[in-house]
Amino acid sequence: MKKLTYFPGCSAHGTSEEFDSTLKLVLKTLDVLLEDIPDWNCCGATSAHVMTENLAYALPMRNLVLAEKLENTTMGIACASCYQRMKVTKVHMDENPELARRINSTVVEEGTYHGSVEIKSMLQYAYEDIGLETIKSKVTKPLTGLKVACYYGCLLTRPKNITHFDSPEYPVSMDQICEALGATATDFDFKTECCGASFSISNTEVVESLSGKILEMAKESGAHAIVVACPLCQSNLDMRQPDIEKLQGVKYGIPVFYFTQLMALAFGYPIDQLKFPKHIIPVEGALANIGKVDPSAEKTKKTTKAVKAESEVQ
C-alpha cells in the first residue's frame, strides 16, 4: 500500500465534495492510503495573492510545514487553485531562502519550513505515480461510447516553470486517463482556456462569456460531457451553464464530471456513490452513450493519437 499526504482544500467540504469523495473511492481501489494534513487551512486562493504578498505565501506555508511532519515524501492536492498556490510558494521559497525565512516568521507556532515535501496535483499523481497501465487494469466497466472533452483550465499545467507537468498549451494526461477508462477523448481546442475563475462571484458576466466559449467548443468537438480536475472550473461550467444557455440562446446540456467520478464509474462503483445528484446539469443523457457503438468514435480517437504523436515529434 502506498501512502500519500492529502490536502483536500476548502471546496472539498463544499462545492466539490463529489471530487473529494470519488477521489477517495478511486484511491482505495488503487491501494493508496491518504493522510490528511492535520488542521489544514485555506491556501489563500486567488484573493490572498491579489491583495498581499506575505499572506499569499504564509497561508500555504503553514500547510507545507504541517505536511512535513507527516512522513510521506509527496503531497497530493485535489483543487487546482490550492495546488497552484502551494507549488508557487514552494518554488519561490526554494529559490529565495531570505524570503523563506521572512515568511516562516509568520507561522511560528507550527515550526520550521524545510521544503522537503514534493507537491503534485491529483491529476499529476494519477498520471505519473499510478500510471495508465495500472488504471487500465482496474477497469471493470469500460466507458466505451462516451465522448469527453478534457478541460484542464489554467492552473494545472501553467506556468511551465512552476508546474513542470504536461503541456501548457495542449495537455494530454487527462485525455489518456479517460481513454484508459474506455472513453473517447475528443480533439478539443479550449483545453487550457480560462473559465473566468475567481470572477464567478464578483464579475459574473466575464465568467459567462469565457465559460460560454468553452462549452461551445466542447459541443463542437462532439463531446457528450466535459471532464475537469478543478472545483472552480466545474462550478463555473456546470452551475452557470443554464444562465449561459439563456444568454447565448443555445441549449448545451453538457454535464461536467470530475475525472475521479469517471474513474470510479469505470472501476465499477455503484452509481449512487458517485454524487451525480449534486450536478446542476443532469448526467443521465451523457452516460446513456456508454456501451453504444458509434462509428465515428474510432476516427476521433485516431485524431487525438495523431496529435499526441505530433507533439512528441516536436
Partner: protein, 189 residues
C-alpha cells in the same frame, strides 16, 4: 496631458522590476499577450500597453488602470511571450504597489472585485477556511445587490452543491496571529 515620468531615473520601472522579478525593459511590444489574454477586452489598457507605460514611467496611469485588477493570473500570456516575461507577476507588482501607495480605482467593477477579495480574506481570518455561503451573502450585502445569483440558490442549496456551514479550524487562533504578523511585515517594507 500625460507627462512622462522619466526625467532622469525611472523609479517606477525599478520598483516594478524588483517586486515582480521580471525585466519589463525586455518587452519589444509584439502584442502576443494581448491576443492571448482572455480578458484584455475588459481592460483600460491591455498588457502590452501597460508594459510600455511602465517603461515610460507612467506610474499614476498604471496604478489607476483597471488592468491589474482584471488580470486572472491564468499565465496564458507569459507562456506565449517570446521574451518569456512573467507578465502576471508584473501585473501583480503594479497592483500591490498601487494598494500600498493607496491608489484607489473607484470604478464599480474594480470596487466589486476588490470587495470580493477582502471578504474572502476575512473568511479565512475568521474560520481558517472559506465559508462559501457566507462569503456569497456578504458580497451581496456589501455590494448592495441582494438578489445576485439568488435564482441559483434553491437548486444549489437543495442539491447540497453549496453547504450551509463550514468546518472551522481547531487552531483558528494561529491563523489570526499569522494575519497580524503578516500585516506588520507589510507595513515595515
Amino acid at each position: 496631458m500625460i507627462t512622462l515620468g522619466t526625467q532622469g531615473k525611472n523609479t517606477f520601472l525599478e520598483a516594478v522590476n524588483e517586486k515582480s522579478g521580471a525585466n519589463v525593459l525586455e518587452c519589444y511590444q509584439c502584442g502576443k499577450c494581448v491576443g492571448t489574454c482572455p480578458v484584455s477586452q475588459y481592460m483600460d489598457f491591455p498588457p502590452r500597453e501597460i508594459m510600455q507605460m511602465i517603461k515610460l514611467g507612467l506610474k499614476n496611469e498604471s496604478y489607476m488602470a483597471n488592468s491589474h485588477w482584471f488580470c486572472l493570473t491564468c499565465s496564458a500570456c507569459s507562456g506565449r511571450c517570446p521574451r518569456e516575461i512573467d507578465i502576471p507577476a508584473v501585473m501583480e507588482a503594479v497592483r500591490h504597489l498601487a494598494i500600498e501607495e493607496n491608489y484607489l480605482n473607484t470604478s464599480t467593477k474594480v470596487k466589486e472585485i476588490r470587495k470580493f477579495h477582502e471578504i474572502f480574506l476575512s473568511m479565512i481570518k475568521r474560520y481558517g477556511r472559506n465559508y462559501e455561503l457566507r462569503m456569497m451573502a456578504e458580497f451581496n450585502i456589501r455590494t448592495r445587490n441582494l438578489f445576485k445569483d439568488m435564482h441559483l440558490a434553491p437548486k444549489a442549496l437543495l442539491k447540497g452543491k453549496i453547504p450551509l456551514g463550514v468546518k472551522p479550524l481547531k487552531s483558528a487562533k494561529a491563523i489570526r496571529r499569522m494575519y497580524a504578523i503578516a500585516e506588520k511585515l507589510e507595513k515595515k517594507k
